[in-house]
Subunit: 234 residues, 2 copies
């Protein structure tokens, strides 16, 4: 189990649910992603999932804390194996600073952040989303860790408001992660063009064998929220 | 919070998720239910949800433990209000014994049991399901508390195997209940005729106002399981 500042970040038992949904909902929504960026995600799990997409030519990751990367490589090799992909380029710096130096470059950006306290706080604010939007190609998609609609409805609503203001296509999807508080967490999607509620591409047989959570069916189903959540986010 | 034998049964914060999905997936799958039975469910929450269906003429409940009913009425009035419906008839006895005395009588049977240890154990075994099948009308549906596919895959698989053997239509749906271990729990559906994966009826405006979890969309989505769960249950 990896904990940062006393908060569980991943357990090997159920990390697949989070990593797969954070990555593949955005990736399979994009018809032809070639370049992806991960902000945060120092455990390497999102990289591992991205590396399953042979269409990607380059995968950048910007993680603020080198220790997270080192510890993950040492203790969580089945997660950190994502760093082994030769397409991966590691940048150890603040994600908000990194993103400002890039323009119209990424097809998919995934923000695998911790909670909005401490170093992760800026990653839940509008300027960061504006910078991400500028770093996307014309049909780009962002996917960011968006907390649980049951436990943190205000945070979810805040993120989705930003996504609505900046992206013509947007949505909130959730996944089951039993070891997280409340047992679920969500991902906020913002897209400049592709639909996100249905996949544009489908896992081939090779990818399918590696997936324990994501299916095209659950991609669509994960956007169907309980009535109270629809009300909060409408 | 109500705990039995040290295990959380309900909290007022999120009991709606469980009660609504346990009740309405089965109820809205049936085109014209007139008589319903609850086995267990002494807190009254499933009764409260059943009472929203004006098409019901009679609602029986068979709870083994009168104390659960009394405590719920005293401390959880917003849940136990289900007992106030004049269509409700309370039977305090063992559910397995009760069901044997009934034949071709119920359109919908809901088993709101505790975990399969102690008094609830028999309610997870095939003879009980055979007795329930015999107590259903020709187009009847059963819905039973079926544990979490993440935490108790063997129990879920066992129940679904029974449902497959006895019912031409069957399925497992899940719902988010943050205060339960793992944050989710499921319902096992068995139907003699109606489809269960899509609603046959839809909430009218009056019911809709009272629903915090159930929607026709989430009815369908709740049957879409993570890849690993599809594999276990196929």
């Amino acid at each position: 189990m990896l904990a940062l500042d006393g908060i569980i970040q991943l357990t090997e038992e159920d990390e697949f649910a989070y990593q797969e949904m954070m990555t593949h909902v955005a990736m399979f929504s994009h018809p032809s992603p070639r370049k992806a960026l991960v902000i945060g995600g120092g455990d390497g799990g999102v990289l591992r999932e991205l590396s399953k997409h042979s269409c990607l030519e380059r995968i950048d990751i910007c993680e603020i804390d080198r220790t997270v990367i080192d510890i993950s490589k040492k203790f969580f090799p089945s997660t950190a194996c994502g760093f082994d992909d030769p397409r991966v380029n590691v940048h150890v710096m603040d994600g908000n600073a990194f993103i400002k130096g890039h323009s119209s470059e990424y097809d998919v950006i995934i923000v695998d952040s911790s909670d909005p306290i401490g170093p992760g706080e800026k990653l839940f604010e509008k300027p960061f989303y504006e910078n991400m939007k500028a770093a996307l190609t014309g049909k780009g998609i962002i996917a960011s860790q968006a907390e649980s609609i049951f436990l943190h409805p205000k945070i979810v609503a805040g993120l989705l408001k930003i996504a609505k203001e900046l992206f013509p296509v947007h949505g909130y999807a959730y996944m089951l992660v039993p070891t997280y508080p409340g047992g679920n967490i969500g991902v906020c999607l913002g897209s400049l063009a592709p639909k996100v509620r249905k996949p544009a591409r489908f896992p081939d047989e090779n990818i399918k064998k590696t997936l324990k959570y994501y299916t095209p069916d659950i991609h669509e189903a994960s956007f169907k929220l309980p009535a109270f959540a629809e009300e909060i986010l409408k």
